[in-house]
């Protein structure tokens, strides 16, 4: 089960990242833009989240700064680290590529990191679902799946 899931993660993940790069999805929609990186904007978005302020429906058209940073951290940080530390515990794989475990400090270091990354991903999942719920579950899930907002505007 664990290793079948790992294959599904790796194979679908590769397709997702390839499409994300080819369609400029990551660059256009996930990299924070200049307006979002202004101090006022950062303070505003953090304060809105801290106060659990419901975002307006039009907000679903684009990702806010915290979403972008969170998604980038998961896509290019946690998931690759999960795969890397997983492979570092494989005696077969490390016999071919010893550096995969060596750079982490061995199989037990890899196991510890693997565990903490797993916990981080579960925490991300819980917060993510809680935020979707807060922002209007049905509307947001429809937007997520179809790429269209309720007002009919296409995702830019």
């Amino acid at each position: 089960m664990h290793f079948l899931s790992a294959w599904i993660l790796v194979l679908t993940g590769l397709v997702y990242v390839a499409i994300g790069i080819l369609t400029h999805h990551f660059r256009e929609h996930l990299l924070p833009n200049k307006t979002q990186l202004r101090w006022n904007a950062i303070r505003q978005v953090v304060s809105d989240h801290v106060h659990l302020k419901r975002p307006p429906k039009e907000d679903a058209v684009s990702y806010n700064l915290l979403q972008r940073v969170g998604y980038l951290a998961v896509i290019f940080g946690l998931v690759p680290l999960m795969i890397w530390t997983g492979l570092a515990m494989s005696p077969g794989f490390t016999s071919v590529f010893p550096a995969v475990a060596g750079t982490l400090g061995g199989d037990q270091a890899a196991r510890t990191i693997h565990f903490f990354v797993a916990v981080s991903l579960v925490v991300f999942l819980i917060i993510h679902i809680a935020m979707v719920w807060l922002a209007g579950f049905k509307h947001r899930v429809v937007t997520m799946i179809t790429g269209r907002t309720a007002s009919g505007t296409d995702y830019p």
Binding site: F3, W7, M89, P91, G92, S95, Q108, R111
Partner: protein, 237 residues
């Protein structure tokens, strides 16, 4: 549709011919097992070696999982220093033979300091000395149809590996650990050391080695007692 099906059939036949299909390939989980086994066999086609460590890296504690057989027969062998113990080697070999512990110790040996990692999460580094399985098998003559080597210990357990692992230079039938006679909990008198797979493939208390063409007629036909309990047959992980 037909083209797709025949494409899959051709791919399966090719994969089987090159030894990329494990015995536990059936069912949904079999897809994952087959992908892992095939991917690692392709990556390892240049006979990669597991990492070997220095003497200073040997672990102070060497955990074990499971007790030695409590049978009277095993206890008797243990107390007599395994004088009456024999390792029998048969199946698809030219000269079925059996060896005493003393005879095995007189054969060429290899000493290696490697990591033993259990799927439960613990691991340790130790030094093992033993007869390379490839030496033992070539001395009894492997017949061309051989594809798997099956190991039967003194308890009702069994495991099997493919020829790529059986002939791998680090694949030992180990009789010493850290310079001393192999302790009973670590598998006396003889255990497998297969550092490219995790702990549970390293059968302890060995007594019988059988070379076969297929494992489908042994037990439930999936290649090992562990596999029948739901573990992966190929544990390069």
């Amino acid at each position: 549709m037909a083209a797709g099906a025949s494409g899959i059939a051709v791919a399966a036949r090719l994969a089987n011919r090159y030894g990329l299909i494990p015995p536990d390939n059936s069912g949904v989980f079999g897809i994952g097992e087959t992908l892992t086994y095939a991917a690692q066999r392709i990556l390892m086609s240049h006979h990669s070696l597991a990492r070997e460590f220095g003497r200073s890296e040997i672990s102070k504690v060497a955990p074990v999982n499971g007790d030695p057989p409590e049978t009277e027969a095993y206890q008797r062998l243990l107390h007599s220093g395994f004088a009456d113990w024999r390792l029998s080697v048969d199946g698809l070999v030219a000269r079925p033979s059996s060896f005493t512990l003393e005879e095995l110790k007189r054969l060429p040996s290899r000493t290696q300091i490697t990591l033993h990692a259990c799927e439960m999460g613990w691991s340790f580094i130790a030094e093992w000395t033993g007869v390379p399985l490839n030496y033992l098998l070539s001395s009894v003559g492997i017949l061309p149809k051989a594809r798997y080597v099956v190991f039967f210990p003194l308890d009702p357990w069994w495991e099997s590996i493919d020829m790529a692992d059986a002939l791998h230079p680090q694949m030992l039938l180990a009789y010493t650990m850290n310079g001393e006679e192999l302790p009973a909990p670590h598998g006396a008198p003889l255990r497998l050391r297969l550092p490219r797979q995790i702990g549970y493939k390293n059968v302890k208390y060995l007594s019988h080695i059988k070379v076969v063409e297929a494992v489908k007629n042994i037990g439930k036909g999936v290649g090992g007692a562990n596999v029948e309990d739901g573990y992966a047959w190929y544990a390069g992980i």
